[in-house]
Amino acid sequence: MSSSPVRPDLSPPLSRLHEWVVTVDHKRLGVMYIVTGLVFFLIGGFEAAMMRWQLAWPGLDIVMPEDFNRLFTMHGTTMVFLVGMPILLGSANYLVPLMIGTRDMAFPRLNAFGFWLFFFGGALLYFSYFGAQGLYGMGSAPDVGWFAYAPLTERTFSRGHSTDYWILGLMVSGFGSIATGINLVTTILCMRCTGMRLMKMPLFVWIMLVDAILIVVAMPPLAAAQVMLLFDRSLGAHFFDVQAGGSAVLWQNLFWFFGHPEVYILILPAFAFVSEIIPVFSRKVLFGYPLMVAATVTIGFISMGVWVHHMFAIGLSPAVNTLFMASTMLIGVPTGIKMFNWVATMFGGRIRLHTPMLFSIGFLAQFLFGGLTGVMLAVVPFDWQVSDSYFVVGHFHYVLFGGLIFSIFAAIYYWFPKVSGRMLSEALGKWQFWLLLIGFNLTFGPMHVSGMLGMPRRIYTYQLDRGWEIWNLLSSIGVLFQALAIAFFIWNVIRSLQRGTPAGDDPWDAWTLEWSTTSPPPAWNFDTDPEVRSRRPLWDAKHPDDPDWKYE
């Protein structure tokens, strides 16, 4: 199958569009995933900025309460399902075949199918803003929160069709994720180049393997719960309809049985990015590769047994709470091992502080904070105070923004030269880094305080005498810095695509297979099938006197 069918009968722009729409090339699909994810990132960020404007001071009337509720629902749903997921799937899509030295994914057409399901699922969700007119006050976008707790989602309380858009949009894009997850597992297990045994894979590929397995395990329960909810809403079933004997707790169990592995599905790719970037910019091999693999697999397993820590306040028995506190604390251990190994990789190295490394260090520093507040939240009595408060909002933004988004920017600065053939500007990149660092901490640091001072999440306004004003004002001011940082990023990408320095094949002097082919790689990836003897094939090539395979 030709990977880029040219249609000479169409005008050049239409012909190019046609090429992208019908492509089954893993690299083009990867780019499409990431670009779509970044567009949704701007939309989700705009929603967040509206909320911070409304909350900057008590009693503001920037948006109506119902609109505020739609904003946080769409913001959360967008960032998890339409930003985190596509960017991780896109980067796995682009990089895994290159890193394991193969031509494409195992199922290229399934790959395209997965992307388009995601794309139209997201479009369907956002079409609710126009299409979901319902009864008075309940039309327009979903307003049930991103975890859509029953029975608020039942017809009694959520009239109109906004909740149906939420269900169907996510279900469609979720099927796309499952398809791509299966594709990734198959590709990694079956299509590695000669010599690449499992323990010779770059850690990136290992982590993406565990991640893809988690997707395949965790997404179907969500789809099942959504089908049940759809039955409740449309066919008169009573799974979650409390008035007819249904269970509100059942939804929470089903949702979080998906939802907590989902958190690890989102953060594991961050681990994957920095596990490649930190060694290259420290000029040292990753410290403790076998233990890193073991920690990744352990996280994968334990992540499926911690979901009740989202439900500590729901009144389960002390024994159940204690059990899930134990599993939640336990998952901190392999995560801690990863932190130690990354820092140990930096020790004794020759650290180059280019933009990808700066963002990776930002990841380390901030993810550490988010991880430790996560351990705090595992302590059930403390959780009784701060769960569903701004402390939790601060915590998961340190993980998903300070951790994941910073690592995504690290990855973009690192692999953009490979994808586009041009370097991003280091100067603009550093402006973006510092502005984002300041803005991020200014916005999300104070949230821990307002949470411990008693501010619940998801409130559209608050009373003047609560002592939360200054913390909220600081949070809102931080948004300005973040917006400026993102403007620098967009400008950097546009400018560099037009006149960035040509990158060459291997601008960072790196070690994995994707840097052995041209930038951008040809549709067929490698002119000859690569052969590897170690985890760092390019190191072996550059240092024939001192190759890795002697030591691994």
Partner: protein
């Protein structure tokens, strides 16, 4: 690209990491400094006035201490690595431009940083587990005052079943009973969706789940007014579902109970306001004991004037606010279930004049 940007000094790097810690650390210091006068209205978990809240705070300090030490050590290591092992510095000392020694790992070191976190987690687990079993009571302690709390969109009903009355928006509890500390045992139920009862100074939160009965134990240490609010998103006016808890001296509480047990005050001077109220749809939702108004969808108004707030706490209970509320509740609490009753200004005044006699 091998060249190193020399402009960023280690100072700048230190700033990176410092900035990461600044907001949380500085704010933590501010919150924890007892000399700083927190506003009396701040529902801070660091200012506990009830036994379970104190027990939670004790555990919290331990957790914060452990996590703070780990945080400082790890950030210190990161900063140290950057300063010590920046390329320029290393090349100066090593005297060549080649790659540094490749260290693939170390079993003893990796074992150490697997086992030590396990031990820390184990200690934390034991302390927290004990706390869970001490605080989370499933049965009322002997002699406890029992109150049934019902979450409604978007207000709280407090049903003092044993004492024979029900009220809303403000939970009144005594500090002592016969001179001994008084335990309060709340039975939490929901009339519609999930809510969560959270008054940080008195205890942790507990979700209020339809189809399920939950319990929450409080034991106040001090008199005063403590604020909190619904902590589980429940729809348009989630933000307006506030909680006020008033802790009384024993005698004051008994006097309050005695007043609440009486039927509504009947003042002939405002009888026309009462008759107007009883002839409108108000009575479909509100109860005023001693009249035909016996609706259960909205707060009991029998002793409306004994409460200091309206609309579940979104506004203070003053004559002006009361008139504005009856005229159009959607102004103070947009999205709430009470509609503007389309009364004339004169009728509003008459009804409010009567409501103001309901002490």
């Amino acid at each position: 690209m091998r060249q190193i940007a020399a402009r960023e000094g280690s100072v700048a790097l230190f700033a990176t990491l410092a900035a990461t810690c600044v907001a949380p650390a500085l704010t933590a210091a501010l919150v924890c400094d007892p000399s700083l006068p927190l506003h009396s209205g701040t529902p801070s978990m660091f200012d506990p006035r009830s036994a379970p809240a104190e027990m939670i705070l004790d555990i919290t300090w331990l957790v914060i201490a452990i996590c703070a030490v780990i945080f400082v050590v790890m950030e210190g290591l990161i900063i140290w690595a950057i300063i010590r092992y920046r390329a320029k510095h290393a090349r100066d000392t090593a005297g060549d431009t080649g790659e540094p020694p490749q260290v693939y790992g170390s079993n003893p070191i990796e074992l150490a940083w697997t086992v030590i976190p396990l031990l820390i987690v184990f200690v934390l687990f034991l302390v927290s587990a004990r706390g869970i079993f001490e605080i989370d009571k499933q049965e009322p302690p002997p002699g406890a005052l029992e109150v049934r709390v019902v979450g409604h969109r978007w207000w709280w009903e407090f049903d003092y079943g044993d004492l024979g009355f029900s009220t809303a928006a403000e939970l009144h509890i005594p500090l002592t009973k016969d001179g001994q500390p008084q335990s309060v045992f709340l039975t939490l139920e929901s009339a519609d969706v999930i809510h969560s009862f959270w008054v940080p100074q008195l205890g942790g939160k507990k979700d209020v789940v339809p189809g399920r009965t939950n319990y929450l134990w409080l034991q106040p240490r001090e008199t005063g007014r403590f604020v909190g609010q619904c902590a589980e998103y429940c729809g348009a006016q989630h933000a307006g579902m506030l909680i006020n808890v008033v802790v009384h001296e024993e005698d004051d509480f008994n006097a309050w109970v005695a007043n609440q047990q009486k039927p509504a005050h009947d003042d002939p001077a405002t009888a026309d306001g009462r008759d107007l109220f009883l002839s409108t749809a108000c009575i479909n939702c509100h109860t005023v004991r001693g009249t035909v108004a016996n609706g259960t969808f909205a707060p009991d108004l029998t002793h409306l004037m004994s409460r200091s707030v309206l609309g579940s706490g979104v506004i203070a209970n003053t004559p002006e606010h009361l008139r504005a509320w009856v005229w159009d509740p959607q102004d103070a609490k947009p999205g709430c279930d009470m509609p503007a009753m389309k009364l004339t200004r004169e009728d509003t005044d008459r009804i409010c004049a009567w409501l103001e006699t309901l002490h």
